[in-house]
Structures are given as C-alpha cells and as structure tokens.
C-alpha cells in the first residue's frame, strides 16, 4: 500500500536517513525500532509530512506521495500520533478530537452534534465512560494519548503512525490501545508502530524494521526473530540485563524516612536506604511514587513526616529543594525537559549549574575551568555532543539524561533519587545508565530508583519497595521478589478501595 525508496534526509551536520527503503501493507502493524537517533522519528516525520526528504520516492496506493506539510499528509489519510502530545489542554475532549473540522453552521459550533460524534469515536478507543465535554488537561496522560488517537480516527485514516504511544500508558491502557490497533487492522489501516519496548513490539507487530544510524539493518517478519535478535541488530552488539548486577555490601543508613505524607497523594510512607545500596520504587503510574520523592526532596511541602540523614537522631529540616541539596540529596526528575534541563543553554552551563562555586572566585566564573569540567563529564559519561558549547536541546534523550546526571555528579551528592531514569532512552544508553547506577552504589552512594519497568528494577536494585495509592505496601529483597508479587502489591490498594482504583493517573 505504501512504499518508500531510497529516502535520504540530512540535517546540517547530521545524516538522519540514508538510502532507506520501507514498505507498508494494508492491515499490518509494522514496527520501527532502533536506538535514539537511529532515524525512526525522522522517517515518521517524513511520512507524516512534517519533514520533506532530500531525495527518494514515496508512493501511496501506487500514486506518488510527496506531502509538503502535515495537512497534505492528513488529507491523503496519513495520520500521526506523536510522542509529544498535540492537544490543547483548555479545550474539551470533543473539541480536541474534531479540532480542524468542528461541526458548525456559519462558524457557530454545533455542540450537541460535536459531543455526540465525539462520544462515538471515544467509545471506539475505550474512553466511553468519559464526558466529551471535560477539559483535556483534567485527564490523565494515558487518557490524553487515547484522545490524540481518537482525533486521528475522526477522519479518513489509511495509515496511522504511532510514535512511542505507550511511553506514558499504564498496562491496562496499553492493553486497550492494543485492542484498538487490532480493530484498525481489520479496517485495513496500515500501522507504523515506533517503540523502545521490545516485548510490546513482539506482541503487536507483524513485521519489524530495524534502523541503525539512519540506515536500514533489516526488515523481518516478527515471528522469525527473538527479542535478543532485535537488540543485537539495533545496537550491533550483545547486551544483557545481568551485566551490572553485583553483590554489594551496604554501609550505614544514609536516609530514613518516617511517616511522610503529602495531601492524599502520599500516605504515611516510611523506608530507609543505606549507603552503597539501590532501592527501587515500583508502582503504577500515578500511584504517588514521584510525589513521595518530591515531598522528600522539598519540591512539594510535606504535610507530615520526618527525615533522618546519615544516621542522625534528630530529623533534618528539608522544606525546599535547596535544603535537600545542601543535605547532599540529588533528584533526577522524570520530566527532563521541564524540570531538569536548561534546554536552550549549552551543555557546559547545564553541567555546572548546581555548583558554580567550584568554577568561580568572588562571584566571577572561570570560563576555562568550566569548559575543562564540562569536558571531563562529557568524557566520563561518554555524552555524545559536538562540544560542550552545544545547546542541550539538540542532544538525543539519552544524552540529555546523561547531562542531567552529570550535573548531580558534579554537585557530588550522597543520596541520589532517579525518577524514571531510562524513560524515552534507547537500549544502549539504558545499559550505560544501569552500569552507572551500579558504580555509584559501589562508591557508597545511597540510590533510589523509580521505574515503571519492573524488569529494570529487578536488574539493578538491591531492594524494591512498592507504592500503591500513596501507601508503601510492600518491600522485597533480591531473593523474594517476582514480577507477579510486585504487580499484585502495586494493585493491592486499588483493589481494596475500588472507588479510587479506577484510573490511577499522574496529575
């Protein structure tokens, strides 16, 4: 149905795609995989009309297809749901779904028909019990994603491109999405599915195309490859999750939290972390893991709770992030772009921000010393950038994350909190980060890792705590845990209290 031949695309200084071929059949799910920067998103953007290729041919239903912009692509029936949601928070769900073709007469919107039509489409994507008049910003991020997909379905759709659609979905929402995808297949829609999650790809796709450095590695039927085959093709080498796990000897208690509470998000949470230990936090999205850490770090003011540091008998006073940082804590946030980085500023300024004292005298910054330190961390974490002067927003997700981590390493903290450190990061960089976590623990740092990927936690952590509906419901150590035990603990509070349990969502 769709065919692309010899697509080239370069951005100044970077060859994003070279000589790429791809074909898509009606009713198939075609997965695109590859590390960040491999060219998946570029290819998707070209198909969706957002970028134009430098050379190469595309055909849609035997006809030449060269969209100049997104509107042209959409009028040919090619729709895209991007990683960054394209919704307007202050408008209703229905208005978002029909945004560019609101039913109207003389410019006055027919609200009744709008909501009726919206309800129909929402039912198709499993949002049937949501009021179409509700504002999008009041929905959870997973539901927002479904709204975006619904918007794609509201008009003729022959090709649907999904770029990391499950990055922020819960398991339940993912299952719903997969049902939808299957339904679309029966309607003969060709689906391009981009994801880092290999298990998902194996479950949902019919064929897999692997990209590396802008080039096609292979296109294979999904049944013919295993997940380790895919990883090998993506990174060009063997990797295994077990590499970074080592026997560690935990030292003294670095952090003891007692009865931490924040609004109804965090309820009486207590735990402790030792030096040289990695404590994982599992739980559903929106269960209060991030809120717990924010309250601990002083980013939100905790209502109750005591924090004891480094074995002290008197609780520490942590009311702002400044207090927390002074006490030797670091917080690598989940949302890099909004909370961790200065995107427009060069790598060097991002790395040194937390500790300008080290590169300055009497308030004057020593530029040479700053560059030297930045280069040191670029080297240490093998951050891929042109130089320390490159704006950090131009780096790939994994390298941006390394810049954030560098900032805290430069600050030299003893307690490091990582919130979803590998979200949106390619496989190769993930393993580098796991390794780094291990090395930090070996150096005697106390480490907390939040992750939605249970396997990831089991691979790197010494202990795993499970948060469910704001409560710390269970804690496992290496010998006891199984994915099933962790999952059932994660759901436990929601089952006990069904009114609350409908849709845990990040606020």
């Amino acid at each position: 149905m769709f065919k692309a031949c010899g697509i080239h695309k370069s951005y100044p200084g970077v060859k994003a795609l070279s000589d790429l071929d791809l074909d898509l059949r009606a009713g198939e799910v075609h997965a695109l995989v590859g590390e960040n920067g491999a060219g998946k998103s570029t290819l998707a953007r070209i198909m969706g009309g957002i970028d134009t290729p430098d050379s190469g041919q595309m055909h849609l239903n035997e006809l030449p297809y060269h969209p100049q912009n997104r509107a042209q692509a959409e009028s040919s029936g090619v729709r895209m749901v991007m990683q960054e949601l394209n919704l307007i928070g202050n408008l209703s769900v229905a208005e978002n779904i029909f945004f560019d073709h609101l039913p109207n007469r003389f410019g006055i919107v027919n609200t009744n028909r709008l909501n009726q039509d919206a309800r129909q489409i929402m039912q198709r994507v499993g949002l049937g019990d949501i009021d179409p008049g509700i504002k999008v910003r009041d929905l959870g991020i997973g539901q927002q994603q479904m709204v975006e997909i619904a918007a794609g379905l509201s008009q003729r759709c022959r090709i649907m491109i999904l770029d990391e659609p499950t990055a922020s979905l819960t398991d339940k929402e993912t299952a719903l999405l997969f049902d939808q995808i299957k339904k679309l297949q029966t309607e003969r829609v060709g689906i391009v599915y981009i994801s880092h999650r290999i298990e998902e790809i194996i479950t949902i796709s019919d064929r897999i195309t692997v990209l590396r450095d802008g080039k096609l590695v292979a296109t294979r039927p999904t049944g013919a490859v295993t997940s380790s085959d895919i990883i090998r093709m993506m990174v060009g080498r063997d990797l295994s999750a077990e590499t970074c796990k080592r026997q560690r000897k935990p030292g003294q208690v670095a952090l003891r939290v007692k009865g931490l509470s924040h609004r109804d998000k965090v309820k009486n949470v207590s735990f402790e972390v030792h030096r040289g230990e990695i404590l994982g936090f599992a739980g559903l999205m929106g269960s209060g893991r991030t809120e717990t850490m924010r309250a601990l770090f002083g980013a939100d003011r905790a209502d109750e709770g005591k924090i004891y540091l480094y074995g002290a008998d008197t609780p520490a006073r942590i009311r702002t992030p400044r207090d927390a940082v002074r006490a030797g804590m670091a917080f690598i946030t989940e949302d890099r772009k909004e909370q961790g980085l200065l995107p427009a500023l060069p790598v060097r300024m991002n790395i040194t921000l937390g500790r300008l004292g080290r590169i300055s005298r009497l308030g004057l910054i020593d530029a040479a010393r700053e560059r030297a330190i930045a280069d040191e961390y670029i080297d240490l974490l093998s951050i891929r950038c042109r130089s320390c002067e490159q704006p950090v927003r131009q780096l790939s997700g994994g390298n941006q994350q390394k810049v954030v981590i560098s900032k805290w390493l430069h600050k030299d903290c003893d307690i490091l909190i990582f919130d979803e450190p590998t979200r949106g990061i390619d496989v190769g960089a993930k393993f580098e980060i796991y390794q780094l976590l291990g090395e930090l623990a070996d150096k005697g740092k106390a480490i907390i890792v939040i992750s939605s990927d249970v396997k990831e936690l089991m691979a790197v952590c010494d202990h795993i705590a499970v948060i469910s509906a704001g409560r710390l419901v269970a804690q496992f150590s290496g010998q006891e845990w199984t994915p099933e035990k962790i999952a059932s603990a994660a759901f436990s509070e929601y089952i006990k209290n069904p009114t609350q349990g409908h849709q845990p969502n990040e606020a």
């Binding site: 400044r322 427009a344 910054i365 704006p391």
Partner: protein, 321 residues
C-alpha cells in the same frame, strides 16, 4: 589566549548586525540631510541617550528572567521629584539628594520584586500597579507642579571629560558593568538559567526568589539613576516626566535582540538598541519630520528589527546543528 581570540570573534559576530544597522542609519541621514554630521546633532544624541540607556540596562535584566517592569517611567518621575524636593525644599547637598533619589528606586524595585515573588504574580500586573502608584506619588511629592532646581543639578551635565559629558560616561560604565555581570558572574549565570527554566533551577537547589528580587531592585535603582540624568538635563523635576519611557526602554532592549521569553539577552546590544532609537529620532528631526511621522517610523523600525533578529537567530542556530 586562543579562547580570547575566539571570544572576540564571536562578540563581533554578535554585534555586527547592530553595527551595520547603526552605520546604515548614519549614512542615510548623513546623505539626505545637510547638517546631520554636526556637533549639535551628536550633542543632542549624547544628552538624550544616558537616561534611556541606563533604564534599558535594568530592563534587560528583568526581561532575561522572563519578567517585565512597566513601572520604570513612573519610578523615574517619582525619584526625580524626590531629588528635586531634597534639593529645593530641604536644601540637602547634591550627593545626599542623589542617595535619597536612588533609595526611592530601590524601594520601588524591592516592592515590585517582593510582590511578584511572594504571591507568584505576573510581573506585568504588579509593575502596572506600581506604574500608577509611583506616578501618583510623584504628583503628590511635587504638588503636581514642575519644580525648578537650577544649577544645583546642572553641574552633573556640565561636568565633562574628553569631550564627553558625565552622564554619558556613567551610562557607558553601567553598560559595561551590566554586560560583565551578565556574561561573567555567577549571578548573571543564575538569572539566565532562571529565564530559561526556573523550575529546573529550583530543583537544582538554587532558590530563584532572592535572585529575582535582586533583578527587580537593580531595575528600580537604575531607573532612579536615569532620573538623576534626566532631571539634570532639564534642571527641573516634573511629575509628568518619563511618561511612556518604560516602552522606549523595552523597545531598546528588544531591538537589541533580547527575548521577551527570557533566557537570552545582551546589555551591549541593548545599548545599540538605545543608540539606534536616538539616532533615528535625531535624524528624522533633522529631516524636518514632525512628531507623528517620527513615531510611525520608529514603530516600524522596532518591529522590523525584531523580525530581522528572528532570522539572524534562526540562521545562527542552524549553523550550530
């Protein structure tokens, strides 16, 4: 050493657009009017420019933290009025009067900053309130009359070195100091970072509040320094002075390429922006343009400059990638 050369190189590149624009303006006026390149023209420009430049330096800082200060025109009037009252009514010596005048600017900036930070309000609204309050206060301090001061303040303008007046020299010094603070100090780095992503700065363990407060204080104090220059030039304190001057200051900053979104800006460019506006005003006056024409052209120049700047910025960021 190599880096120094590189710095100089990038510095020239940063300002080349402004220099070209300025030279072009000078050339146009020089060719189209007979008496443009005269001592009088340049003295007019040199006299007008210190107050607006100093005010615009403060504004640059505020815009870099993604704020705005609409009150500077009124603060100029109020601190000018206080200067006048101190000299005429209280017979204070000039230095003390200047200190009182700067104190007014400091307090206004402090109040602006405190309210913005404490109640997390948009600075647009808070300083809009201060615009009214300070103007009202200026009227009540002077009894709504223009107050003649005379030689007691004229000394400031009449002092000169190397043919340059004291206000002009002070303005240049403030520009250099401002650029230095922005580019080379920890404080400057923090405020650029705050303008880029305040939440990231806060979560890095740096409280943005006190830093932002300082920025508003600096802006207020510089507005009162501008008031001294302004009052000295007119040898009188008039509660109506500085009307709309905040917008001229913003125009100078924006022509210089500072972003209203924060995180990006340069004090030296602001200086060029102020020069361009002043040269434009003087040149158009020479050509015999009336006030309405002058304002229409100035308005177009402001917008055109910003359009050009977005192209320049896009071009340079493309070069990086």
């Amino acid at each position: 050493m190599k880096h120094k050369i590189k710095n100089l190189h990038t510095a020239v590149k940063d300002y080349i657009g402004m220099l070209v624009a300025l030279t072009a303006l000078l050339a146009i006026f020089g060719l189209s009017t007979k008496n443009f390149f005269t001592f009088t023209t340049f003295r007019t420009i040199a006299n007008q420019i210190p107050a607006i430049t100093i005010m615009a330096v403060g504004m640059t800082f505020v815009l870099i933290i993604a704020g705005i200060d609409l009150s500077v025109g009124s603060v100029l009037a109020l601190s000018g009025a206080v200067l006048g009252v101190c000299i005429v009514n209280f017979k204070l010596p000039l230095p003390l009067a200047i200190i009182a005048c700067m104190g007014v600017g400091l307090i206004c900036g402090l109040i602006n900053g405190f309210i913005v930070i404490k109640w997390k309000l948009p600075s647009f609204i808070v300083t809009l309130g201060m615009l009214e309050v300070a103007r009202g206060a200026a009227y009540s301090v002077t009894g709504s009359r223009t107050m003649y001061i005379g030689p007691a303040v004229e000394v400031i303008t009449e002092t000169a070195a190397l043919g340059l007046s004291l206000p002009f020299i002070i303005a240049v010094v403030i520009v250099i100091a401002g650029q230095f603070i922005l580019a080379r100090t920890v404080f400057g780095r923090y405020i650029i970072a705050i303008g880029t992503n305040e939440e990231a700065v806060r979560l890095s363990g740096i409280e943005p509040g006190p830093l932002k407060l300082w920025v508003f204080i600096i802006c207020g104090v510089l507005a009162s320094v501008a008031a001294v220059m302004h009052t000295a030039r007119l040898s009188s304190a008039n509660p109506n002075e500085g009307l709309g001057m905040e917008l001229q200051a913003i125009a100078a900053v924006v022509i210089g390429g500072t972003s209203l979104m924060g995180g990006r800006g340069s004090v030296v460019s602001t200086f060029f922006g102020a020069l361009i506006i002043a040269v434009l005003g003087a040149g158009l006056a020479q050509m015999g343009a009336q006030e309405p024409t002058k304002r229409i052209i100035t308005g177009c120049v402001i917008v055109a400059a910003v359009i050009l700047d977005t192209y320049r910025h896009r071009l340079s960021s493309r070069k990086i990638t």
